[in-house]
Symmetry: C2
Subunit: 256 residues, 2 copies
């Protein structure tokens, strides 16, 4: 093993509007990962691979995604953000960098992820929110939404809350908390957990929206959860644009 | 005069990013006014002219601009927003409509306009703010900014704070208040007044940013104001994208 190789963890923010998700295996559409690898390659003068933590969907935003890469350069960790940012489009920004141990793998370590789903709850959509909020024109009852969220907290089989296209080995996941808050006509659903299935937060948001308009209650959510079948959940998957990955807490690294 | 003709006042919000300002006299670039006239024309089946209140610059946003138009239709005023919005691009929205007297002219009546200038004051720009905030990476001192703003409040000749391309007959204007507030890494400059010159709020924002980084103080701002000459003001015009027209209070109409 080469002692001169360091592993660097980057915290990354992006506006996902223009991108086909964080990473994509199938074709060569523009991705966040692709731009990060291009910027790092330009900085190092040779190809650099990044290992991502969370493969956010097409159109989903992030303030706190994280990637690692290995470098033989002598650039101090704290200088990487500026050096990389000058090589990135303005809708992607590296917010910080730190050295981690060479065996740190961001997908094989315990994390708590925090997602936020934003709803524009004005009757007429606010055009200054439309890039980052899903518009719901009928008034939502956030007390009902919080009640309907409570059965989801804890360790459960979330098969009714994930895309039928999931390839996950198990659909059991552990949500540590869900909070629905209103600030005038903005509603924020904050979901924290040890990991999420494909589309899971957007389906939870869609379900809580149905609860907020009086179509579902906490009892219905319990029954949907127990059914362990996406088709048992009448709620649609909420739009990608309302979702932001706020933070990834790597438990082995201590507070960010 | 036709008694069946009603004058309708619309409150309009838009994301100015894609537009060449509210209205433009020279060519046929896309404007907010052009889209409103097209939507109203489609609704009425004949051309409809709108009279705008505030001709915001290219790239400037609005939550509370206002226009009037005349209609012979029997559509109740409160039904106009939905009827027009279905004919508008999603980055322009009519928020409300009310009938006003047929001799009401939005530019020939006293108004107090409220503008808000937004600054992203994180060292590394937040990509989720970049559409609506100007990024200033060095930390700004908002106490200094508030002090530097105080000489601008009241009735003054604002020639040092307007574009040299102004065609206004007089450069005397009356600012009723300026407030600079910080919310974590977001800074908002709110400016209220009876009317503004071309680029005036953006030059005030540029001047207060210079004050916030320690380059100018309240004494300098007083001297710049007295010079009545744009070239006496070293501050640049702040970027259009940070500016939003929040509200227009038509004093003759009472509270909105």
């Amino acid at each position: 093993m080469n002692d001169d190789i360091r592993r660097i963890l980057l915290r990354v923010a992006y506006d996902g509007t223009a991108y086909h998700g964080f990473a994509l295996l199938k074709d060569d559409s523009e991705t966040i990962e692709g731009h990060l690898e291009e910027a790092l390659g330009s900085l190092h003068g040779e190809p650099v691979c990044v290992i991502g933590t969370s493969r956010t969907d097409s159109g989903v935003h992030a303030l706190g995604n994280a990637v690692v890469f290995d470098t033989a350069s002598s650039i101090p960790a704290e200088n990487f953000p500026d050096a990389i940012n000058t090589r990135l489009p303005s809708d992607i920004r590296v917010r910080s960098a730190m050295e981690v141990s060479s065996d740190f793998h961001p997908r094989h370590t315990d994390t708590i992820k925090t997602y936020r789903y934003a709803i524009d709850n004005e009757r007429i959509a606010d055009p200054l929110r439309s890039r980052y909020f899903m518009h719901v024109g009928y008034k939502l009852d956030t007390d009902r939404m919080n009640e309907a969220a409570s059965p989801l907290v804890g360790e459960h089989d979330f098969k009714s809350f994930c895309s039928v296209h999931t390839q996950a080995k198990t659909t059991v996941r552990h949500i540590t908390g869900i909070k629905v808050e209103r600030n005038d006509t903005e509603i924020y659903i904050t979901v924290k957990g040890y990991g999420f299935l494909y589309n899971m937060v957007r389906i939870i948001a869609g379900t809580l929206i149905e609860a907020g308009r009086g179509k579902l209650d906490a009892g219905d959510v319990s029954r949907i959860l127990q059914a362990a079948d996406r088709s048992a959940n009448p709620a649609p998957t909420a739009e990608a644009k309302g979702l932001t990955l706020m933070d990834i807490d790597f438990l082995s690294l201590g507070p960010a």
